[in-house]
Amino acid sequence: MQNLDKMLAEFAQQKLEKQTRRHFLMDCVAKVGGLAMAPLMFGCGTGSSELNLSQRDLNPLSPLPPPYGAKAKSIIYLHMAGAPSQLELFDFKPELAKYHNQPCPQSLLEGKKFAFIRGVPKMLGPQANFSQHGESGAWISDYMPHFQKLADEVSFLKAVHTDQFNHGPAQLLMQTGSARLGRPSLGSWVTYGLGTENQNLPGFVVLTSGGKTPDAGKSVWGSGFLPSVYQGVQCRSKGDPVLYLDDPEGMSRNLKKNVIDAINTVNKEEFNAYGDPEILARINQYEMAYRMQIEVPEVMNITDEPESIHQLYGTKPGAESLANNCLLARKLVEKGVRFVQLYDWGWDTHGTDHDGSIDMGLRNKCREMDRPVSALLLDLKQRGLLEDTLVVWGGEFGRTPMQENREGKTQSFLGRDHHGDAFTMWMAGGGIKPGVTYGRTDDFGFSGIEDKVSVHDIHATILHLMGFDHEQFTYEFQGRPFRLTDVEGELINKILA
């Protein structure tokens, strides 16, 4: 009987989905511009009340209370795509230096698979100088001289591990909880569960820098099986933040309003005929897009920021940079955006060329990241935003203590291969106990030996801070409830305030 109910519910859902797609295409076939805007247009709170539908039917992004007390209301997730080397940034391994250029011990290689390392590689000692900082005595290298001053603001996870060693799957695992395509991203889950406070801005904004988007493509901010309105909205860091948001020449805002009103009248008739709540969501999306025209250019414009702030972040308006994105992240969170995801590409230091070298390219990359990320923490702190904003920093995996020997040959630059057994991430802000270093790796930084933390544990902890129990936060799909953490995930209690 229960199965029958489930099948019926799913059948109804499928039927509805088909209908929606057809209507969507019919509506949009003549409006390519509208189609491009589609992912950007979210609902709003002004639904017609006589229809007796829940707030969520009318506006899928309307806010919901967190089931448990939330420590943070917003997240800024800084993903260093390509995977930065923990051995040059945070995981100080003096022992490794002693083995520099010596063949890697067999015990490390047995049963292990690497992306590029073949045969017996040589060990590669740390290329940075480390020192301890703050009252917490956290080890931070001279690759990040500004960040060294913030040692007491963040909590380090030194023994994070993942089971993926290629960028795409590892990024998917880090952002969606599964290495395969099709799951909703962390940001989608959070926006689905909490909605967003500012109804004139998207709830989940994605900003990229470094010249490329992540290897896994847009699926890392996709909504998977959640309704597509919860996917991340990628805003461009250069030029118009959102395409087609400006009114076309000769079209006044009033005229635009008339157009939208006319479309909505037709849509309302459509709703009366079919009763499909997705039509209502669509009506609201038009209205929201109309309001976004004002708010988005305003919040995405950093030229009005005072000079002191530009100096702090090292921003140059108009450029596509991590610095600009960090400043934007602060502005968006200040404006009540729920989830801001930053991807910075270019951390894949294999040693195949100058830019990909551990001793030079990585140093340059760190210089571009060090100031903006430190500035972001300081700026959030001085405005009191750090009280309820969670900041997460990390890559999709770490890097080997061995020097990469692609195709068995010695590289012309110093580089490290992908490595998922142990790497460093940090968190700061809402609900995080600052100044903690949790987890320890072996003398080579090859494996975690104490307080290991899995990707699912990180997800469980983030959801906890946002006011969810990761085991109860589910979405029914294909006849079973799905979780971000699937069947895994333990809270990392030691880093919680």
Partner: protein, 460 residues
């Protein structure tokens, strides 16, 4: 074939019981009311007692069926059942008595009053069985409850002392409290659902109608544990779907106890249990962020009205009465709009007026919110003239004044505030004057910077 008839009839008991109550109360009222005109009313009185007797009989029989088929213990229903049957006979007795004499029998009022008293007692005992013995007392104020001798609620969640948890007895100190909180309301010696008593070690070892619930050392085979981890939709899942569910950590502890051999008196230390299993129960000194006061929950439609006015309005967490209000979508909010918030005075704990048109005058009203904990006044026309009003907001912990005109002299007024923890005054005159850390709260004036380093310009 007709096995279901009797239990079905039993289920009618809660409905049938109301008939004798109606008839008999009516009859007794007539006895008192008819005093002089007894002759006129006697047929009605007689009829009331006849119908009362018949319906009381039916109620007694259906009640007995329910007792037979629904797993109530004899101790629980004993007095209720006996008094119910007694009520039946008494009703018939009175009817027979009235039937025989044409005039008002002597002491009829006393007999009627006696019947009413017994009826009331029977009904009350029945109510206790279905609604619980503390049905009336639990709504009373705690002080009055204690005065009436109500037992201290055993529904406290399990807590273990962090320093000497090893000495706590595993069963009496940890398992029984979990069972008391999650299972006892149905599985106690009185209610005995499924003939199972989980309120004592003896009861647990005895098992229930399906036999033993403990398999020595094997948690998966012990239904005391196995039923807890069944999917909630499963018919055999315990506790029932709509009841409070034990926490994951509590279930783990029950599992560990069974696997340790389910002894009665062994201590946690003796069973060499992992610290991680008991750690979640250690008493935390964590103070809740928002005030601990009972506040009525604002009705959903009142919250909708707030949203309709333009506020972001949401409870701070599911089932909490406390409200978070923000003007993020309401930049036109000004001092004169304050009355829109009047319905939620007690509930507002978080108020974000950032970017609105408010002035100093609003602080008078803001200070009337008794539970306000976080107040954001960034980017407003606040000049800090009557900041001292906020001393009345006893619960205020975080105050945001970024990009306003407050100066440090005005902040002095809040120096004696009992709970204020942090004040943010970035980009204000207070920040420019360079005063800091002279207050009882932490004053964050910002202007943080990252001085340039030589390495900033070295490109490798």
């Amino acid at each position: 074939m007709i096995d279901f008839i009797l239990p079905l009839f039993g289920r009618f008991h809660p409905i049938l019981v109301h008939l004798p109550i109606g008839f008999l109360v009516f009859g007794v009222i007539l006895i008192f009311w008819s005093a002089e005109k007894y002759a006129i009313y006697s047929p009605i009185i007689k009829l009331a007692f006849l119908l009362g007797g018949i319906s009381a009989g039916l109620a007694s029989i259906s009640g007995f069926m329910q007792f037979q088929y629904e797993g109530y213990g004899w101790d629980t229903v004993q007095l209720h059942l006996i008094l119910g049957i007694f009520t039946t006979f008494l009703s018939f007795g009175l009817w027979y008595h009235l039937q025989k004499s044409a005039v008002s029998p002597p002491r009829l009022k006393i007999k009627g009053a006696l019947l009413l008293a017994i009826l009331t007692l029977t009904g009350h005992l029945g109510g206790n069985i279905t609604h619980g013995e503390n049905y009336f007392t639990e709504v009373l104020p705690p002080a009055l409850q204690a005065f009436l001798g109500g037992e201290a609620s055993s529904n406290e969640p399990l807590e273990l002392p962090a320093d000497n948890w090893e000495e706590v007895e595993f069963f009496t100190g940890a398992i029984q409290p979990i069972l008391d909180q999650n299972c006892k309301s149905c599985h106690n010696p009185k209610k005995l659902k499924g003939e199972l008593d989980l309120s004592s070690f003896k009861g647990i070892h005895k098992g229930g109608e399906n036999g033993a619930i403990l398999e020595n050392g094997n948690a998966r085979e012990s239904s005391l544990f196995a039923r807890l981890i069944l999917p909630e939709d499963h018919d055999d899942h315990m506790p029932p779907k709509d009841k409070r569910q034990p926490r994951k950590e509590e279930i783990e502890l029950i599992k560990a106890w069974i696997e340790s051999g389910s002894a009665e008196h062994a201590t946690l230390g003796e069973t060499s249990i992992q610290l991680s299993l008991v750690e979640p129960f250690f008493k935390k000194d964590e103070k809740p962020f928002y005030p601990v006061v009972a506040v009525p929950t604002l009705a959903e439609d009142s919250i909708s009205i707030l949203r309709g006015s333009g506020f972001f309005a949401e409870v701070v967490k599911t089932d909490s009465p406390f409200l978070k209000i923000s003007c993020i979508n309401f930049p036109a909010f000004s001092d004169s709009d304050w009355s829109l918030l009047a319905s939620a005075k007690e509930q507002i704990v978080y108020l974000d007026l950032t970017g609105t048109k408010i002035t100093d005058a609003i602080l008078e009203q803001v200070s009337s919110l008794p539970n306000l904990t976080v107040l954001k006044l960034n980017q407003t026309f606040i000049e800090g003239k009557n900041l001292d009003k906020l001393n009345q907001s006893n619960n205020l912990k975080l105050l945001y004044l970024n990009e306003t005109k407050v100066n440090s002299g005005q902040l002095k007024a809040l120096d004696k505030h009992p709970r204020l923890e942090k004040v943010f005054a970035f980009d204000t005159p207070a920040a420019d004057s360079g005063t800091s850390s002279q207050f009882s709260f932490h004053l964050e004036t910002g202007n943080l910077s990252l001085p340039p380093l030589p390495t900033d310009t070295i490109v490798y």
